[in-house]
């Protein structure tokens, strides 16, 4: 078992066994990982400033730097805390870690509805360049959900990265768009008692300049069209950098047949969705990722 999990359990057990005279507040919180150095910063891009945080190990940097590409929109909101825990854990194990908010999301500048697929690509590129400058090494990207898809696209564009880890990537962008639009349709049902605009109407609205609200995140026509036009199969087929692919779903043969990819199906809680139960630590994907980073597979383009 990995130390990460053991540390979490030990820490929680200590808190649960705290003396009776300790205040309720003291017992309610603990620290899953040792303190790491965390430095928030503004990252300037052509489109606006991005909020980013650097997580540095207290001791020696022993593993490659990691840039976390987060999920998008509402998924980003639900995943945010988990990804902070992941960043701290990876720094605890010796990596410099960089987390950032895309334009129009989290703490960054801008408005969500004005952002596009291209602006997300530019955000990731800027974060990678910053990580390279700060760490002095070419970083690995840890892409989660649409962040994974974005990272796959970045590989195809030739963006320098030493390796790629994807967690539950969006492999069917059309289905992803379909699910987002379904949220809007459900909201219509609840608010109006009927469906005024179905999914094709909504896409038409977006293409004519409208903004489609998905739980408060406004999707623009250019963003929807870019997602629908993504050719992910060719991106996966052309993956030539060491890649760890973790998913709760069965992984397509396009992925498993690529010699650069280590693909694993694993169960984890869907931390990118509104939770039904409380999870005190990071997802099981982290243990696989820590193990992969500790090996030298990512460093020499190993096969499975």
């Amino acid at each position: 078992m990995l130390e990460a999990i053991e540390i979490g359990r030990r820490s929680i057990a200590r808190a649960a066994g705290a003396p009776q005279d300790q205040s309720e507040q003291d017992r309610m919180f603990t620290r899953l990982y040792d303190k790491v150095r965390e430095t928030p910063m503004w990252l300037s891009t052509a489109n606006g400033d991005l909020y980013a945080v650097e997580y540095a190990p207290q001791g020696t940097v022993s593993r490659p730097p990691v840039v976390i590409a987060a999920p998008d929109g509402e998924e980003r909101a639900w995943a945010a805390r988990t990804l902070v825990q992941v960043a701290r854990a990876l720094a605890h194990y010796g990596s410099m870690v960089y987390r950032f908010d895309h334009l129009g999301q989290g703490e960054s500048e801008g408005n969500y509805e004005a952002t596009t697929w291209s602006s997300r690509e530019a955000d990731l590129d800027a974060a990678l360049q910053m990580a390279q400058r700060h760490s002095g090494q070419t970083p690995i990207v840890l892409g989660v959900r649409l962040g994974g898809t974005l990272a796959l696209a970045a590989v195809k564009r030739g963006t320098p990265m030493a390796g790629l880890v994807v967690w539950e990537p969006v492999v069917d962008p059309a289905q992803y768009v379909h699910q987002l639009l379904r949220v809007n349709v459900s909201t219509q049902m609840v608010a109006l008692g009927r469906i005024e605009r179905d999914r094709s109407d909504l896409i038409a609205d977006a293409r004519s300049g409208g903004v489609i609200s998905v739980n408060g995140f406004g999707l623009s026509g250019p963003f929807i069209d870019a997602l629908l036009a993504l050719d992910l199969d060719s991106k996966i087929g052309q993956l030539s950098i060491p890649t760890l692919w973790l998913s709760t779903l069965s992984v397509d043969q396009t992925v498993t047949s690529n010699p650069s990819v280590v693909a694993k199906r694993a169960s984890t809680f869907p931390f990118w969705k509104e939770p039904k139960s409380h999870r005190s630590g990071p997802p099981s994907f982290l243990a696989e990722t820590v193990e992969w980073l500790a090996s030298d597979r990512h460093g020499r383009g190993m096969t499975k």
Partner: protein, 320 residues
């Protein structure tokens, strides 16, 4: 340096405010926040602190907190959004409840004041970092309860804005204990759907939530046919009530805002409001048609406008 550092200030061209990333300590943990300052050379004497909406980080659901902060700072208020322990960028991880427990148990921690110390630290920080002497607390859902708890004990708090605040413990809310008027409303809705083809399609294709259907149906029959009553409905959150009475006793101003399409409004209306005999010691506004998180722009605009007018009416010294 260990722990959370700070970023440089960033001037926002659009809202003409300055945003700083700040950190401050609470019980040995460092908390991270974003402080929005008016572009004017001096901060106003009243600051606003925005609390976390449950487990969401300080940006809020679809960045509702960011939008509020930019607007309020542009109108002269220093605004601090911060992450309490166990959420967002801040240190501290929840030790209770245990891993895998229903999320309602986490919400119960919040409802019972888990973030009161964190909010106190945030109030102290904003007063130290700006020229503010008075503080208005604002929160949505769990953030509203946390705001009420902190308002009850911190002397710098002059007013509290509570949006979509639960008055009963989340852990007590379930199909078997929803208020009678909601059972009636839902049952009527199901009756209306009897003639809709899509409702039957959902039913026969397994898309319907049979648990909810059964729960509503059985409650309706028990109460309408057999006249059963449900005493647990009166179980308001005791710690919330204590804080409410303390705030009321101190003369601090309170504003409750509810989205119309939010079950929490139904509980407030049916269980809490009647105890004041039409003379509630607070202001109350309803946003028509809105849902719990104000997902549509039109609802957000109504919310912003309402809150700005209320702040203006409470803080005449501050120009809006």
């Amino acid at each position: 340096m260990a722990g959370l550092g700070s970023a440089r200030s960033r001037y926002d061209e659009v809202s003409r405010t300055v945003q700083e990333t700040v950190s401050f300590s609470c019980e040995g943990y460092e908390l991270r926040g974003s402080l929005h300052r008016p572009a004017a050379p001096e901060d106003g004497d009243t600051a606003i602190v925005i609390l976390n909406q449950g487990p969401l980080d300080r940006s809020g659901a679809h960045r509702l907190s960011v939008k509020c902060a930019r607007r309020w700072a542009a109108r002269g208020f220093p605004v601090l959004r911060f992450d309490a322990r166990g959420v967002g960028d801040s240190e501290g991880d929840w030790a209770i409840p245990e891993n895998g427990a229903p999320i309602k148990m986490l919400y119960q921690n919040i409802e019972e004041g888990a973030w009161t110390l964190d909010t106190r630290a945030a109030i102290d920080h904003v007063c130290a970092a700006t020229s503010a002497r008075n503080v208005v607390l604002a929160g949505v859902c769990g953030g509203a309860v946390s705001a009420l708890h902190a308002a009850a004990e911190h002397p710098a708090v002059v007013a509290v804005i509570m949006v979509g605040m639960p008055v009963r413990p989340w852990a007590a809310i379930g199909i078997d204990s929803i208020v009678a008027s909601q059972v009636e409303h839902e049952a009527k809705g199901y009756v209306k759907k009897l003639g809709k083809w899509y409702a039957w399609r959902r039913f026969f294709t397994g898309e319907s939530d049979y648990r909810v259907l059964w729960g509503i149906g059985s409650r309706y029959v028990r109460e309408r046919v057999f006249g059963a009553s449900n005493d647990p409905l009166k179980s308001l959150n005791a710690s919330m009530l204590r804080s409410f009475r303390a705030v009321q006793g101190s003369g601090k101003r309170m504003l409750f805002v509810f989205p119309e399409n939010d079950y929490l409004w139904v509980e407030f209306r049916d269980l809490f409001l009647p105890t004041f005999n039409d003379r509630p010691p607070f202001d109350l506004h309803i946003i028509p048609g809105a849902n719990h998180t104000f997902t549509e722009v039109a609802w957000q605009e109504q919310l912003f406008s309402l809150l700005e007018h209320w702040l203006q009416s409470q803080m005449p010294a501050v120009r809006l």
